[in-house]
Amino acid sequence: MRDLLLVLAVFAACVVESVEALTIVLAVGVTRGWHATLRGVAAGLITLAVIVAALGPALTVIPINGLRVVVGGLLLVFGLGWLRKAILRASGFKALHDEAAIYQRERAAAEQAHESSPGLFGDSYAFTLAFKGVLLEGLEVAFIVLTVGANQHNIPLASVGAGAAVVLVTFVGVAVRAPLARVPENTLKFAVGVMLTAFGIFWGVEGAGADWPGGDVSLLPIVAGVLLFAVAAVWQLRQIHARQVDTSLDTAGATTGSGR
């Protein structure tokens, strides 16, 4: 059960990161041409591989409880951050994350950029943008795989989840040649936020030296508890948001009425 949750959590998190990287690469490739963009992608992947090769072995020599506290802490901070944004978006306090809008923004920026002189890698703007997109989002994928995998003593299993996510998103992206606006990203981020928060709580507590009542089985109630809390927060914030909208409409109506 713990292994299945591990693969699902890594898969969902890596789908989100891959969608973000693919959005950048598609926007740059369509507007500036694929030659330099694909070179940027390749350079980003090679740099990423070097970083992962250097970081991977270092993680395995850290004592397990120390690793659990660090990984649990980082996952909890990431998870709460993702959950916070997803809850604010779902309740109307923040605009929904729209990959189509981001794609159009990146495309417009790429079109407005001056044609740079072709250097070693061709169009340096396309190369740099694709390189940065792949490296930064790839670093997040690698970080999730290495830390979550090392903590469970199962980096290969975490890699399967991440690899499946990257292959799926790449295949879908190439097949539809669109910014994947149909992927409900906020829903995905909500689910990932729940999973990261739950894993962060679980490992953080174990790493700090405390024991869970029931051992590993307690992970399921933790996931359920975090999910219930997040859904309740969305419901509560939606009520508050609706009241705020009503109050502003009333105020606007009163101002218009008194001005006549």
Binding site: V69, G72, G73, L74, L76, V77, F78, L80, G81, L83, R84, K85, I87, L88, S91, F93, K94, T197, G200, I201, G204, V205, G207, A208, G209, A210, D211, W212, P213, I222, G225, V226, F229, A233, L237, I240, H241, Q244, S248
Partner: protein, 75 residues
């Protein structure tokens, strides 16, 4: 020299944004909650509940602050 300082600042800003994110209080709260758990774990009092309670409290406070700031901006 200025270029080195700018690079270092950019590097630090990247890692701050990557690890800490939008609300530094959440990261600080996680550290305090883990320290409290480690402290309690050395006693006979159960310590597993500290982090879940702290996470719920931090998320609630962060959401409350965010919703208030949106409300204040719309005034």
């Amino acid at each position: 020299m200025n270029r080195i300082a700018r690079t270092l600042r950019g590097f630090a800003a990247f890692w701050w944004d990557f690890v800490v994110g939008d609300d530094w209080r959440i990261a600080a709260g996680v550290l305090v909650a883990f320290a409290a758990t480690a402290g309690l774990a050395g006693t006979s009092v159960p310590a597993w509940w500290v982090v879940p309670v702290a996470a719920a409290a931090m998320l609630s406070l962060s959401l409350w602050r965010a919703s208030r700031s949106v409300k204040d901006q719309s005034k």
